[in-house]
């Protein structure tokens, strides 16, 4: 049996067992050519029965991208939504084909043009796919930065429009009538003058052979013409998620597959000194052990993880049982092994006290402080934080001499393709990635070296598919962290309590994604003199983008400090913010005021509450300092604290902008609800600490996740339109839960806490 046949069998088995609906399945090109299912373009396949398959180039990890991407295509395609099936796009094909040149130009005039493609980001492109590959077939296969809609909308709409026009051209050709006399709706093409109709499925084979004569003339629908986009659509994968049929990476099963359990050195930068496989060799099912080095930093965006060892066995539990008993000794860099959270905190304090990189210096801050009637100073800190997605890292890899196949839930398959090629020497066009659903993501770098571990292991077992699965404890080692952070804010207030000078210093580990938080662009709230400096340190903990990135920490600093200033000024925190936004020249300040007013009104701001209950308000925006894409909202958090110190987020009122239009408002609501839970956990419960150089909280008994009992009983979400395209919904909404709970605790208990999480503090009162 040739290797090719074997592979085909694997794929056929997987496709048959799980359904092509779930796995983006690969077919040899010859077989593809023989199938009766015509591909209209790289994004769209239409069956004879009018089933429309839409290729999805991002990974579905709960954010609803399977549905929203399909909606953007199908808005233009004008097909029957009930017959749409998403399928993952092929990262292999992406390595071999280019996007049509006419799709590379973004139509329209940027973020404030409703007729255009908005403001997609294809900056810092490189061929590893770190930021997407600008001209590859599927452009941006990464799933990060809440950007799937912002970046993909225009070319997904174009893909749908091109397919629609070719279907119409094919029908016109068939009937020998002018194409202008045809209309398309719900997969039916009608020629009104003659009363003839046909369906997309009927003309799809002809459309597949009909090129568009002038594709550069194709336009996309502006929001006022949308009929599918902008409507609430249930996520297309929900039916398979309530029956257990959805296939995640962990569920992949292949004939002849063996399982690998892994132990990597808990101290980053460490490696295996020796291990004694003989001690476990005779255990049931155990086959062999494989050592692998620290993943090449070229594959992990420069981050240094650890070397490790894997035991391979017939079942994963056998492999895991054996590796738990196998003696392993580590070689650990002495300087890394000595590190503790306290030392790191001290290093941040030292760094923030020294001159940093001054990024903004407006007016005369020192003169402002000198003439201020009152000085307010505060130091805030935020811990390292893990993503702790529910599905532990895993990948199934088959390496042969001329080809690599990888089954994985992956937020950046273009990078994984690069890694596979670098590790195995097999060229990228021969790397095939079969994307699976992902059991939570929360930051692309959070994938850690799951693919690299599996590829390195399988590369030493060419010809055998290896399914590598991390334990929960290993998942906490194989991830990057949101960097620990520190901020010092100092404001000078005039006699009426308005800030006349503000100095902000933030300190975060290098590469910690701190400055993204926009302190480097604006103070957001009006102040005549403003200085911002960023300070960094170097630690050995690998840091990366976690939901909310540095912005989440910075929003905690900024909005907490605004509450403190309002209190120092003796003013209402809502009115105080409103006035300070009104005094700015921010292009979207009217939208910000609208958000504040709406959230305050929704919450009954100012009406009496029972003792032990308080409200807090905050503004949330990203991009609002400029005049491009932005997302703007305000939230009011109603919080109770019992005398015993039990905190309950009782109610959240959310006023949120839609920009020119939300693609799927239902999905947006779910994202807001989910992020309320996310930032509630950041605020109340979670912290990652370091002892002896390793992460201490390595399972859910130490890294707590809130349960349904802590979910706010009431969440009210109201939308308002704005005149720009949104910047994204998936990662920095509801950051204000952090400052909101803090200010409510202050109002109720009289205690102000400036370091998270709040649960570590004494919150009792009498």
């Amino acid at each position: 049996m040739s290797a090719d046949v074997t592979r085909r069998e694997f794929l056929a088995t997987v496709a048959a067992a799980q359904g092509a609906f779930v796995l983006g399945f690969w077919m040899p090109e010859k077989a593809a050519a023989q199938t009766a299912t015509p591909e209209i373009n790289a994004w769209i396949v239409i069956d004879l029965d009018d089933t429309v398959t839409v290729r999805i180039a991002q990974t579905e990890l709960g954010q609803g991208v399977w549905t929203s991407n399909a909606m953007m295509v199908c808005e233009e395609l004008q097909c029957d939504w009930a017959k749409v099936r998403p399928e993952y796009a092929s990262a292999n094909r992406d390595a071999r084909e280019k996007a049509p040149a006419w799709t590379l130009e973004v139509p329209g005039n940027g973020a404030t043009d409703p007729k255009g493609g908005g403001e997609p980001t294809f900056g810092n492109r490189d061929r590893t796919g770190v930021s997407g590959i600008p001209d590859s077939l599927y452009r941006r296969m990464r799933t990060n930065a809440a950007s799937s809609v912002k970046d993909g909308r225009y070319y997904l709409q174009l893909a749908g429009a091109e397919a629609r026009e070719r279907l119409l051209l094919a029908a016109a050709d068939l009937w020998r009538v002018p194409v202008a006399e045809l209309t398309a709706r719900d997969s039916v093409i009608t020629h009104a003058p003659s009363g003839r109709t046909t369906t997309y499925g009927q003309v799809a084979p002809r459309a597949a052979q009909t090129p568009h004569p002038r594709p550069e003339t194709i336009t996309i629908k502006p929001p006022d013409l949308w009929t599918l986009m902008g409507t609430e659509r249930k996520n297309l994968d929900v039916p398979i998620k309530v029956t257990g049929q959805a296939v995640y990476g962990i569920d992949v099963r292949l004939p002849g597959m063996k399982w690998a359990a892994v132990k990597a050195c808990p101290v980053y930068g460490g490696d295996v000194k020796r291990y004694d496989f003989n001690a476990v060799r005779s255990m049931p099912g155990v086959r062999t052990a494989v050592q692998f080095p620290i993943p090449d930093p070229a594959c992990t965006r420069g981050r240094i993880f650890s070397g490790g060892v894997a035991v391979i066995a017939d079942s994963w539990y056998q492999a895991k049982t054996a590796i738990d008993r196998m003696p392993i000794e580590w070689t650990v860099p002495t300087e890394n092994a000595a590190v503790t959270t306290a030392m790191m905190h001290d290093a941040l304090v030292t760094s923030i006290g020294q001159p940093g990189r001054v990024r903004v210096d407006q007016g005369d801050v020192d003169a402002g402080f000198a003439r201020a009637a009152k000085i307010v100073e505060a130091t805030y800190s935020t811990p390292y934080l893990a993503r702790a997605r529910m599905e532990p890292g895993n990948a199934t890899v088959l390496v042969t001499n001329d080809r690599v196949d990888i089954w994985i839930g992956d937020q950046s398959p273009q990078e994984t393709r690069f890694s596979a090629s670098k590790i195995t020497g097999v060229p990228e066009p021969n790397v095939h990635i079969h994307l699976c659903h992902l059991g939570g993501g929360f930051g692309r770098n959070g994938n850690g070296p799951q693919a690299e571990h599996a590829i390195m292991i399988a590369n030493q077992h060419r010809g055998t598919p290896i399914h590598m699965l991390w334990t929960r404890e290993e998942d906490f080692i194989g991830t990057t962290y949101r960097a620990m952070g520190l901020a010092r804010l100092k404001a000078g207030l005039d006699a009426d309590g308005w800030p006349i000078a503000l100095e902000v210093r933030t300190c975060m580990q290098r590469d910690g994604f701190g400055p993204e938080a926009s302190f480097d662009v604006t103070s957001r709230y009006h102040v005549p003199s403003y200085r911002y400096s960023s300070h960094t340190t170097k630690f050995h903990i690998p840091v990366g983008t976690r939901r909310g990135v540095g912005q989440a920490a910075h929003e905690f600093y900024r909005e907490s400090f605004m509450d403190e200033l309002a209190r120092a000024a003796g003013q209402d925190p809502y009115r105080y913010r409103r006035e300070l936004i009104a005094r700015t020249k921010l292009p979207y300040k009217a939208d910000m005021i609208k958000a504040l007013d709406m959230a305050a009104e929704m919450s009954g701001w100012g009406t009496p509450l029972p003792k032990g209950t308080a409200r807090a308000i905050a503004l949330e925006e990203r991009g609002g300092e400029g005049n491009g894409s932005a997302t703007i909202s305000a939230m009011v958090h109603t919080v109770s604290v019992s005398r015993e110190g039990k905190v309950r987020l009782e109610r959240v009122d959310v006023a949120h902008d839609t920009g020119f239009g939300l693609v799927n408002p239902l999905s947006v609501k779910k994202q807001i609800e989910g992020q309320i839970t996310w930032f509630y956990n950041d605020a109340m419960h979670q912290a990652t600490t370091i002892a002896d150089g390793h992460v201490v909280e390595n399972n859910f008994n130490r890294f707590p996740l809130s349960r349904i009992a802590e979910d706010p009983p009431e969440i009210n979400i109201r939308f308002f339109p704005t005149q720009h395209w949104l910047i994204g919904m998936g990662h920095d909404r509801a950051t204000s839960v952090q400052s909101g709970i803090g200010d409510a605790i202050f109002q109720i208990t009289g205690k102000r806490f400036r370091d998270l999480p709040y649960s570590k503090h004494d919150l009792t009162w009498s």
């Binding site: 029956t243 079942s315 702790a388 529910m390 839970t677 008994n701």
Partner: protein
């Protein structure tokens, strides 16, 4: 060592160490992957199945404890999503990444058996599964909705639920 397990009404001959956690026997020997592994220490509930009608965290009990008992997994509700609790979940569009939802549904179902009209306090006490996406808000509504679907007007409480489970 081989032993028999009854899963979703069918008997399966399993050739494994009976001390293997029930989760891994269900996933790797019986071949039902809807039940998920996440923490391995009985904390998160992603692996929740029913053993003789009780919700059990299958990563933390050995398969031997389920011998001779009726095991039900997410696949045992209905393959087409027609069980009322699945219908309610779909109506509310509850799942996000979906990874914890099999366990969440199994916990909710065990609650609904004991309390056909659960209060919010009942839900808080009994549905202690972790969800990282933050689907709790919709899960709570879906549980109430499932209770409505199962105990519609004129029906004795819990009757339809029992029917579904006996299928």
């Amino acid at each position: 060592m081989a032993f028999d397990l009854t899963v979703n009404g069918s008997q399966h001959r399993v050739d494994a160490d009976p001390q293997t956690p029930l989760l891994w026997v269900i996933r790797d020997h019986v071949g039902l992957t809807g039940t998920k592994f996440s923490c391995g220490i009985g904390q998160c509930g992603a692996c929740t199945v029913h053993v003789d009608g009780r919700a059990v965290r299958s990563c933390s009990v050995s398969a031997s404890t389920a011998i001779g008992k009726a095991i039900m997994t997410i696949e045992g509700l209905s393959a087409d999503g027609s069980h009322p609790i699945q219908m309610a979940w779909k109506e509310l569009d509850a799942p996000q990444c979906g990874y914890c939802q099999s366990g969440m549904i199994m916990s909710a179902l065990a609650l609904l058996r004991d309390r056909p009209r659960p209060t919010d306090a009942d839900i808080d006490a009994r549905v202690t599964n972790a969800c990282r996406c933050g689907t709790y808000h919709r899960v709570r509504q879906a549980i109430h909705r499932a209770a409505d679907l199962m105990n519609g007007p004129g029906r004795p409480e819990g009757l339809q639920l029992r029917k579904q489970e006996l299928r």
